[in-house]
Subunit: 337 residues, 2 copies
Amino acid sequence: MGVTVAIDCMGGDHGPAVTVPAARAFLRNHPEARIILVGRQDALEQAMTAIGNGFGQRLSLHAASEVVAMDDPPAIAMRTKKDSSMRVAINLVKSGEAQAAVSAGNTGALMAISRFVLKTLPGIDRPAIATILPTRKGQTYVLDLGANVDCLPEHLLQFGIMGAMLVSAVEHLERPTVGLLNIGEEAIKGNEVVKRAGELLKASGLNFYGNVEGDDIYKGTTDVVVCDGFVGNVALKTSEGLAQMLATFLREEFSRNLLSKAMALIAMPALKRFKHRVDHRRYNGAALLGLRGVVVKSHGSADAFAFEQAIHRAAEAASNRLIERITERMTAMGVAA
Amino acid sequence: MGVTVAIDCMGGDHGPAVTVPAARAFLRNHPEARIILVGRQDALEQAMTAIGNGFGQRLSLHAASEVVAMDDPPAIAMRTKKDSSMRVAINLVKSGEAQAAVSAGNTGALMAISRFVLKTLPGIDRPAIATILPTRKGQTYVLDLGANVDCLPEHLLQFGIMGAMLVSAVEHLERPTVGLLNIGEEAIKGNEVVKRAGELLKASGLNFYGNVEGDDIYKGTTDVVVCDGFVGNVALKTSEGLAQMLATFLREEFSRNLLSKAMALIAMPALKRFKHRVDHRRYNGAALLGLRGVVVKSHGSADAFAFEQAIHRAAEAASNRLIERITERMTAMGVAA
């Protein structure tokens, strides 16, 4: 993997304290990869002093004077912070110095800047965000989780194409299955947009499975699940809420009294294995799709392990020709300009 | 509670084997309530022989010669099975012999028949289905989970009114909070329908909290969560899928080997308390709202305990004037005919 990844070191809740150790771990695990750390000079130098540089030319620093805050409105971040670490990292993808960028910063700003700097691919109307969820069988890529709230059937088709190409590139599946998120009542299956999107996907040449329902996400029925950004956001947030509630209840029941605490101690190995299987850190790294370059968004609260997964996904996507795959498929379908 | 509930004894996966014992338990726990069991003569007589009748005139039988199957299309169930136990139970509400009907049968048929027999309330365009989900604080009523896929803002307003009145009647909260399910990105908050629905709800005189996100459902942020039937279905099914996956993983980790099984045995009291807190049987009984009569849908796979909860909710709604509450609120808002 001779790929170079530009990292916005300042993004996320923890900044360089997380992004720099993650970069080091990534370089250790990928001996051919290169990383460009982008951030404020002082912060980078401090972090480098702490970790040392045993990577020679595989690790370089690139100064940027500004930082996009988590609560900066996207338009403000784009117009007023032209030397932000986020923007400079994306500029490095644009110029070809890097093949992918990773940031744990503000999602709205990352999408706006990526779209402005990199532009969308031919035939793609709206970039989308694909996140990864654990399933009984492994994992599923769900998109859109971005800002595409009122979608046309053609947009859902594009999400299907981009999602399938992402899974091809990152998971090395040549014909990933694509499901369209719908509801089950026979007589009234879905709304008009979803119905029409189903027809388009059926005719697309993708490995289209057909409609799936909400529970199919976690059953792992398909490799890709397509929906509009409103529905995707609700599905993801609802899942987060339920998982947090269940974790809280489980913790409370195992810490109710001394006896419960003893039970927890004894059951710890099984509880730990359970926790590992659903550890969201392993699924960190949502791809911004439809752009002329690979951009991956890490969760803002990611730790170094989680951020390293996001770097890994970005490197995989770039070295396995994600952008070319999407372009080729769009061209083959005659939908690219 | 001097209410009479008509029970479709034949509906659900288990029919009289579940519905009749549930009715008996309900009558024991509610000394002033009455029940009319509706079903095939032979099935009812058999069930009554098994349980005996210690309830005198509080328990009566009403024969119906047909049964709606779980896979009957709603239109067929309505047109060709005019003497089905489901329809006869609803007829009893229409005639005033019962104040509520409960069925564990086919949801689509139950809605179609209820709508045809009972009609909608003045000002209500579309009936909705409200289900109950457990939360950190207790429970939340979510609607619509029915067939309302393409909603206008006015429909979402009506769902808010009906949901609030349901919680008032069943949970005895005079001013339940109502949240509108939306997504979080500031700049692009929601689609046009949801935005406009928010304005209508704000002006409605309900205790409108504002927008909520998917995770607020399980946080218990509001007593009622309003969304269209597509989004509601996805949120519910996604939750079911996640809960099942987590339960499977937990079971697998506690039965991996002899040692794990011993851990499970020791941890059993805590695991059982955890299971009880999220036991979906306690939340059984989804109200069909907007009709001129109380109809409650039980889950098809409900056991006697779960079905009894559905009967209880139906009785609470009827004896606490659900229909009158909705009518009064609609009239006060000037939206009723």
